[in-house]
């Protein structure tokens, strides 16, 4: 019986093979659609949907079928369950999404064993890409923003001392480590380091920030997941009058995501972040991206850096499908095709580094200011072109393995 079945399968495979045929490629999208960080999932998902809607014609006669699953809280457990199901039950050929580092960390052995390529659209802990040869990342590493911010804070903002405060999970520690390395290399000194609880729940930030205020550093570098935490940070920072006390707020772009910026009020003005994207970034692709976004989701809805990453991620996946004529069943071929991919997206020029499978992109120092029309905006005050993940360049800790 068994032999018969195998023979039948083999015959089927033979009859299908070699014939150029329109494929329906199953893409598994895993993003947080619930919990405190649900809006992060939606920011990326909207970009995915928009790209697929506008560019489905580019890959004809092939089609994609998007299967969406909830990544759940930032602990990785639910992400592992739903992704495993996507691989074994739904037989997806490409995985993408993944906002939280713990998800990507937990999934490395699964993806490696299943040989399914996973294109990470956010999770930014630096060493994630080293965990599986089937990982490619189009978002950023914490070192893309943290490391250059270190030297920028010392040289250009003029901070001699800094406090760091972070949400206590892998990307938080990573981001702060990146900043510290850059800052101390430039000559600054980190005087205080404060872990601020788990990413699952927004804490009352006041006691943490009060402690920083009492320590009187020139700058405070804050990493939080860019969901509900960001709003909380800005409120506490404003309430405690830290800017008046001479403590400048700096960090990665998670502090001032575009979709929450208008709600943050005056407290945000003067904040300087290192970022690869802002709605106000001037380039043709971004202008078109924003136009399409507003057309699809309304005037009051803004894309943010995660949306830009989502757009580029789907772009890379589509280009790969095109390049392989829809034949994406071999995971290693997909990864090989992704290596060296480059395009001009909303962020500007992005490349997937063929050596590390991690993104290379411009980083901008951006300052929040009040625009003439009364809205808050981001002004580019400095640009560092084509930044690689410095953690892997310097081979620090797990980035070296």
């Amino acid at each position: 019986m068994k032999i018969l079945r195998w023979a039948g399968l083999a015959a089927l495979a033979l009859s299908l093979g070699g014939v150029a045929q329109a494929e329906t490629i199953k893409i598994g999208v895993v993003l947080p659609f619930s919990g405190a960080n649900a809006d992060l999932g939606h920011q990326i998902d909207k970009a995915f949907d928009l790209y697929v809607k506008l560019h489905a014609k580019d890959i004809l006669p092939n089609k994609v079928e998007i299967i969406k699953r909830d990544e759940g809280p930032p602990t990785g457990a639910q992400a592992k369950t739903v992704t495993t199901e996507l691989i074994t039950n739904d037989k997806v050929q490409i995985l993408t999404g993944f906002v939280f580092s713990p998800s990507a960390i937990a999934l490395a052995p699964v993806v490696t064993q299943a040989k399914v390529p996973m294109v990470i659209a956010n999770a930014g802990t630096a060493w994630i890409t080293n965990l599986s040869p089937y990982y490619a990342r189009l978002s950023f590493s914490m070192w893309h923003t943290g490391f250059p911010m270190g030297s920028y804070a010392f040289k250009d903002i003029g901070c001699k001392t800094a406090a760091v405060a972070y949400t206590d999970f892998p990307p938080g520690k990573d981001s702060v480590e990146a900043f510290r390395t850059g800052f101390e290399k430039a000559g600054g000194k980190v005087t205080l380091s404060i872990p601020m609880g788990s990413p699952v729940q927004v804490p009352d930030f006041t006691p943490f920030f009060q402690r920083i205020k009492d320590a009187k550093p020139d700058c405070m570098y804050v990493f939080i997941p860019s969901g509900a935490h960001a709003t909380g940070v800005m409120k506490a920072y404003g309430e405690l009058g830290l800017r008046k006390a001479g403590v400048k707020l700096i960090g990665p772009m998670d502090l001032v995501p575009d979709n929450k910026l208008q709600d943050m009020g005056d407290a945000a003005i003067g904040t300087i972040v290192m970022s690869h994207y802002a709605v106000d970034l001037e380039n043709a692709a971004n202008k078109a991206f924003n136009k399409e976004w507003h057309q699809a989701y309304g005037k009051e809805s803004y894309p943010d850096f995660m949306s830009a990453q989502g757009w580029d991620t789907m772009h890379a996946i589509f280009d790969t499908i095109k390049k392989l004529n829809g034949n994406v069943s071999d995971g290693s071929k997909v990864i090989a095709a992704l290596k060296g991919w480059s395009a001009d997206g909303p962020r500007g020029h992005v490349v997937i580094d063929p050596d590390t499978r991690d993104v290379v992109q411009d980083e901008h120092a951006m300052e929040i200011y009040r625009k003439a029309d009364g809205k808050l905006g981001e002004k580019v005050v400095g640009t560092i072109p084509q930044v690689k993940d410095e953690c892997k360049v310097l081979k620090i800790g797990r980035c070296g393995s």
Partner: protein, 290 residues
């Protein structure tokens, strides 16, 4: 004032503000659990809904923050009566598991519904000018909003204390918490009493939700994210006790704030440590009955 004293005062102040939020939001839960032994895990959902009422009133209708808080309390209180009469009532005699399943289900439905209408992006409220800035006490300045939170908490505590200890209705509630069957047999309408306290508890939760927006920002998942905290306050304070809830809120608020300030590395350890220690020594909480 010495450096240490200044820090102590500031921790006390921040902790007090945090404690007031915990008290306002948890007290209703404590009373309903004490009175009916009903496990209402949807309590956080009423708080979240109250928060969104405040958001809508202030942003879409231009009503000031403080009146919005009061309106949110009334609206959610009234709506909660509907829930109590229709749904909760059916399960008073049911097991804890059935109650938990119903109410946590309600909480999830509320999250989904509010996500549908308001989206998952955290909301904030426009505050009047007098709540923005800070109050300068000479040796240190404090955020006005936190001072306001403490004031609101103090007023509510006074009102609740008076209502519980000095009025006829309050006496009936206390009697019903102590011994429900005896209270019924002397002619107290415990059903009606419960509806009343349930509505009051939900109204307070709604105001707590509104007050929390400025602290945490408001997302639909508020309904379950802080629920553990409320349950801890109830457990540590003792079910059905106003005094206990207040004491537990103060202990947790102040000790957690102090812990975060002095030993941030410890994370949530302080909250769990207090809970564990109190419950080991007194399994029914500060003022719970055996």
């Amino acid at each position: 004032m010495s450096h240490f004293a200044i820090i102590a005062v500031s921790i006390l102040f921040d902790g007090l503000a945090y404690a007031m939020f915990l008290f306002i939001t948890s007290v209703g839960l404590s009373v309903t659990m004490g009175l009916m032994g009903f496990v209402n895990l949807a309590h956080g959902a009423f708080a979240m809904a109250g928060g969104y009422v405040v958001v809508s009133l202030t942003r879409s209708y231009g009503i000031d923050f403080v009146p919005s808080l009061l309106i949110a309390g009334v609206v959610i209180g009234l709506i909660s009566i509907r829930f109590e009469r229709r749904l909760y009532r059916q399960l008073y005699k049911a097991t804890d598991l059935e109650q938990v399943l119903l109410t946590i289900g309600l909480a999830f439905m509320a999250i989904a519904a509010f996500t549908y209408f308001y989206g998952p992006i955290p909301k904030s409220v426009p505050l009047p000018d007098w709540l923005q800035g800070d109050v300068n006490l000479g040796f240190r300045s404090f955020p006005s909003y936190r001072a306001f939170l403490i004031a609101v908490g103090a007023v509510l505590i006074a009102v609740l204390w008076y209502a519980f200890e000095k009025t006829n209705v309050g006496a009936k509630i206390r009697a019903a918490v102590d011994n429900r069957r005896m209270a019924e047999s002397v002619g107290i309408n415990v059903d009606l009493l419960f509806t009343l306290t349930f509505a009051l508890g939900s109204a307070l939760a709604a105001m707590g939700g509104g007050l929390a927006i400025q602290l945490f920002g408001l997302t639909p998942s508020f309904a379950v994210l802080y629920l553990v905290l409320f349950l801890i306050v109830v457990a540590v304070g003792g079910m059905g006790s106003l005094k206990g809830t207040l004491l537990a809120a103060l202990a947790i608020g102040i000790i957690d704030t102090a812990g975060k300030y002095a030993f941030p590395v410890a994370g949530n350890l302080f909250i769990y440590a207090i809970t564990a220690i109190v419950l080991l020594i007194k399994p029914t909480g500060f003022f719970g009955r055996e």
